[in-house]
Assembly symmetry: C2
Homo-oligomer: 197 residues x 2
């Protein structure tokens, strides 16, 4: 996005699901975000499974999957993560991706990147601790974290046949998070553009 | 270990380094533990890099590397994790291993397993938050977590040329953690053995 097309162009949001399961409720949440997000174009990233274990020895010549992941984040105006919760915290593979994305220190692709985190789980808690942990990680990565946590509980019954959330408040909450996330790059770019006076 | 050889056999501890770096200070910490551990045989596990991303779809027929990891933990009397800290918390690949090890729920290989966590980092904090996060994960996995946190700070200068810790208190602390970890299976097995009356 350039300064010039800030107010007309859609904000480009990269959706990252922390679950690799084919029937993932978190991927479903991102697909719902795609349809709700009027001022934003949400795309679902499919490269998570390809990211190799982080190894600092390979940092200077990272594997191709890492380069692709970094490019996907760099070319996005914002990032929306939807995460399950594994053993009270962040799924390992999602953390591996964030570890690679955080390097080199202070120059990672998440520095200043507008990001938001939502989550769904089968439990009554909707992945709230995983979300909290990921926000902490994103802060450590220098990301610009926005949005109120959306915890979709009892995810196996939370969606209807069309992939909408039964609970209208949760659905409005998701739309609000995406809207807030989309506003950050619009605000960042428009405030740096010359004033119209 | 069987009931019969409890009091004579060495306790078999699986050492897991959370860092894949060839010059890892956490692997160095485990190698030091091998030499300090009089009542225990500490072995360094080398399978971490092979563990694939966790995917619940593959849970019933897990990849071979997962089966090997589970066997390594099952056949160990206890587990000693030495971890770096990535972005204030657990390294992704170590978490992936723990996620696989935790499944199926309530029947994972870490249930009841004596475990301890130590850590080393370049910072003044010695991976303390990563250690704390991992203890929480281990608790969620049903492991029997023991030992006081050992935070080896400024790891690049903490070891001498022989791989010992310059600080004698830290070195004694590591020996104490290993000793405490070794005591748990000895205690568990001996308390379940017939009383000598």
């Amino acid at each position: 996005m350039t300064d010039q097309d800030t107010l007309s162009a859609e904000v480009n949001i990269l959706g990252i699901s922390g679950s690799l399961r084919s029937g993932s409720y978190n991927s479903a949440l991102l697909r719902l975000a795609m349809r709700l997000a009027a001022p934003a174009d949400v795309r679902l990233w499919r490269g998570l499974a390809d990211v190799p274990p982080f190894n600092e020895d390979h940092e200077d010549r990272p594997p191709a999957a890492v380069t692709h992941m970094r490019s996907a984040i760099e070319s996005a105006d914002a990032v929306l993560i939807a995460t399950p919760e594994y053993n009270t915290t962040v799924p390992g593979q999602l953390k591996t991706m964030l570890d690679w994305a955080s390097r080199p220190t202070h120059r990672g692709v998440l520095v200043g990147k507008p990001t938001a985190v939502v989550g769904a789980s089968l439990t009554p808690y909707g992945a709230q601790w995983a979300q909290q942990a990921i926000r902490g990680v994103l802060n450590a990565c220098g990301a610009h974290v926005v949005g109120e946590p959306l915890c979709v509980a009892h995810a196996d019954t939370a969606f209807d046949a069309e992939g909408h959330l039964h609970d209208p408040q949760s659905q409005a909450h998701l739309a609000r998070v995406v809207g807030e996330l989309a506003d950050v790059p619009r605000w960042l770019y428009s405030s740096s553009a010359p004033s119209a006076g």
